[in-house]
């Protein structure tokens, strides 16, 4: 009775093909819902451009972003009087090419955003699962810890941490993850609490599944769509935080270009050479806006209530 009857390979292949066709159909369905939101598509395109900029910075950037040229300081953008297409967005106070610096700055922002959100999401998922699933004192400890972290203004906490630890990429990541994990953990915890008493969890328990099996294999997959949305939206926030810290001189250290520090340096010349601070500012604005639009579009498209 329990002996397995292996299926013929032809059968299995055909079934796999049909399964793949269904997956494609689901993807197409997702795209249909997502693309209805034009702004979200625009946001996605903007983010995609920024990602391409960041990934291929060494090949895209026309100049070395850290190479000064003291003969050509404060060159205006190409369309202005005295500007040239050699430096389409002009040069900064040390004669470095603005466009190249912005392209390389995308890399710094995205790196921090991606790394912080990855760590924060992993930690947050774990904390949220444990907190929501076990409840009791574990939940109390984790939730009060989150409350304490949330009670501090984000930037103040990050500044304090960076002040203590000193600047550096690792410390920057740590200072942001330190608090950033709370958001995904709250989301996951909420989903776990909702899923805990759902019948399929009861059913899993009735077949003798272990707690960790139920947590990781039954409940966690149900939280993915909200985690994806939250992670996307929080990337924008982290990029903004990185820019703020860099602006204050606590983030990415010069000469490595970062949008935040570029604004900080350009701020002194805002009246004479406005492009120094304005272009990195626009870059931050567009990136953050793009991510937010994309995130909201994803949220609508992944909303389980609109599925099926």
């Amino acid at each position: 009775m329990a002996t397995a009857t292996p299926t013929t390979p032809v059968d299995g292949r055909a079934a796999r093909r049909r399964a793949w066709a269904r997956t494609r159909e689901q993807l197409a369905d997702f795209w249909r819902r997502f693309s209805k939101n034009r702004l979200a598509v625009v946001g996605g395109v903007v983010l995609l451009l920024v990602i391409i900029m960041g990934l291929f910075a060494p090949w895209i950037a026309p100049h070395d972003p850290t190479l000064p040229n003291f003969r050509n300081r404060f060159a205006p953008p190409a369309w202005m009087e005295g500007g040239s297409w050699e430096h389409p967005l002009g040069t900064d106070q040390l004669g470095r090419d603005m466009l190249s610096r912005i392209i390389w700055g995308a890399r710094a922002s995205l790196k921090v955003g991606a790394v912080v959100i990855s760590f924060a999401t992993v930690v947050g998922i774990f904390m949220g699962l444990v907190s929501g699933y076990y409840g009791g004192w574990v939940d109390v400890v984790i939730q009060r810890l989150s409350d304490i972290l949330l009670a501090f203004p984000y930037l103040v906490l990050a500044i304090a941490l960076m002040g203590v630890m000193g600047p550096g990429f690792g410390n920057l990541i740590l200072a942001l993850v330190y608090k950033e994990w709370v958001t995904p953990s709250r989301i996951v915890r909420g989903e776990v609490l909702a899923a805990k008493n759902v019948e399929y969890v009861e059913a899993a328990r009735a077949v003798g599944a272990r707690d960790r099996h139920i947590m990781w294999r039954e409940i966690l997959p149900n939280t993915f769509s909200s985690v994806i949305v939250v992670a996307t939206l929080r990337v924008a926030w982290v990029i903004l935080m990185e820019a703020s810290l860099s602006f204050l001189g606590l983030g990415v250290q010069p000469p490595e270009p970062a949008w935040g520090s570029m604004i900080a340096q350009g701020r002194e010349y805002i009246f004479s050479s406005w492009w120094l601070a304005t272009f990195p500012g626009i870059a931050i604005l567009l990136t953050v806006l793009g991510i937010n639009l994309l995130g909201e579009g994803l949220r609508d498209a992944l909303d389980p209530r609109l599925r099926e």
Binding site: T5, T7, G12, A15, R18, N197, Y200, E202, A204, H213
Partner: protein, 360 residues
């Protein structure tokens, strides 16, 4: 496949519930969801537990699985399963029994399958859940041993083949394809078949079926019952069928237990119960079933509603709705008494309820 009386008497019961009490400690008081329930289930037998919503029949099943959740608790009694008391088992020991020798089918196949996981994975996981049980012990070194030598586990391929086989056994066409489907791509009947396949994955000795057909269409109901009948005959699995549907009971069960407000009020072999119901409540339940084609039969609902379980009347719980109740019934609680072989009734008025003396 009715077990003959000889065997029923001689064989050891597979499940022997003794004075089981499961209470819920709520803000409004103690709810006695299961209050002193005793019954036996013999190998290969199918027993139906019947009653209205909230009479404690589902909580009886949950207690047997030890899946009563907070604020509920088993406060007393014994559940002897193959001679061992489940009430006193550790959570780990229980976990190994669940889905192994002891399986359960739930009411609503729409919600008991995880919506975001493919059906195939849900079946293979339940096959694999118990594969490493015997090597679970040994603390850190046990863990290390399992990590270094995973051969005790069933491979994914093996589990997959077994799952396909199970789906075929429960009558799902094109099982290979169905394995790759999500629950929402299947019909209710199909999903219940999948649930049954999951329950059967480890060849259980006892199957608890909690309203397995309630959420399904009538035609699908018949198919699922037929499937369960088939399984029972082929595997000799004992089944405890929880339902409010006498139609299902009369088609499928060997013996029937009628519950009311957390207690057993009547228990008898199926034919005996249908021909000679003696508790006014059972009689009321049977009279409240509409019969097709029988114009002379009028549906008679039982008057009143089930009393609040945290505020039961003294004496017989049914006395507030019983047409025969008198002052004595409202004061003294009746005991279950055997009035014929295998026929137990808890009623003071049992003499007045015999078929001849037309009562309710």
């Amino acid at each position: 496949m009715l077990p003959d009386t000889e065997r029923t008497i001689n064989a050891e019961p597979i499940l022997d519930v003794r004075n089981l009490r499961t209470h819920f400690f709520t803000d409004r008081g103690v709810v006695k969801a299961v209050d002193g329930v005793s019954f036996q289930l013999y190998p290969g037998e199918t027993v139906g537990v019947v009653g209205e919503s909230g009479c404690g029949k589902s909580m009886t099943a949950a207690s047997i699985m030890r899946l009563v959740s907070h604020p509920g608790r088993i406060v007393g009694g014994e559940i002897l399963f193959m001679g061992e008391d489940l009430v006193r088992k550790s959570e780990r020991e229980m976990r190994r029994l669940r889905g192994n020798q002891l399986a359960m089918i739930f009411q609503d196949p729409l919600t008991t399958l995880n919506p975001v996981l493919k059906v195939g994975r849900q079946i293979t996981e339940s096959i694999r859940v118990h594969a490493g049980d015997d090597r679970e012990d040994g603390g850190f070194f046990g863990w290390l041993r399992r990590l270094l030598d995973p051969s005790g586990r069933i491979s994914r391929k093996e589990a997959w083949d077994r799952a396909v086989d199970l789906l075929r056994q429960v009558g799902i066409p094109a099982p290979d394809e169905r394995m790759r489907a999500y629950p929402h791509e299947m019909s209710g009947g199909m999903r219940q078949r999948v649930m049954i396949a999951i329950a059967l994955a480890c060849n259980p000795v006892l199957l608890l079926a909690d309203e397995p057909t309630t959420a399904l269409d009538v035609t699908i109901q018949a198919q699922i019952l037929e499937l369960m009948q088939d399984i029972k005959e082929k595997r000799g699995t004992s089944i405890l069928l929880i339902t409010h549907d006498f139609g299902v009971v009369s088609e499928f069960c060997d013996r029937v237990i009628v519950m009311y407000a957390g207690k057993i009020v009547e228990q008898a072999p199926l034919d005996e119960l249908l021909d000679n119901p003696r508790h006014p409540y059972t009689q009321g339940l049977l009279a409240s079933i509409p019969r097709l084609g029988d114009k002379s039969h009028k549906v008679r609902p039982i008057k009143g509603i089930v009393p609040e379980l945290h505020d039961l009347p003294p004496g017989c719980s049914f006395s507030t709705r019983c047409p025969l109740a008198d002052e004595y019934c409202g004061r003294v609680e009746p005991e279950l008494e055997e009035i014929a072989p295998g026929h137990l009734v808890a009623c003071h008025k049992v003499d007045a309820t015999a078929a001849g003396a037309k009562g309710a």
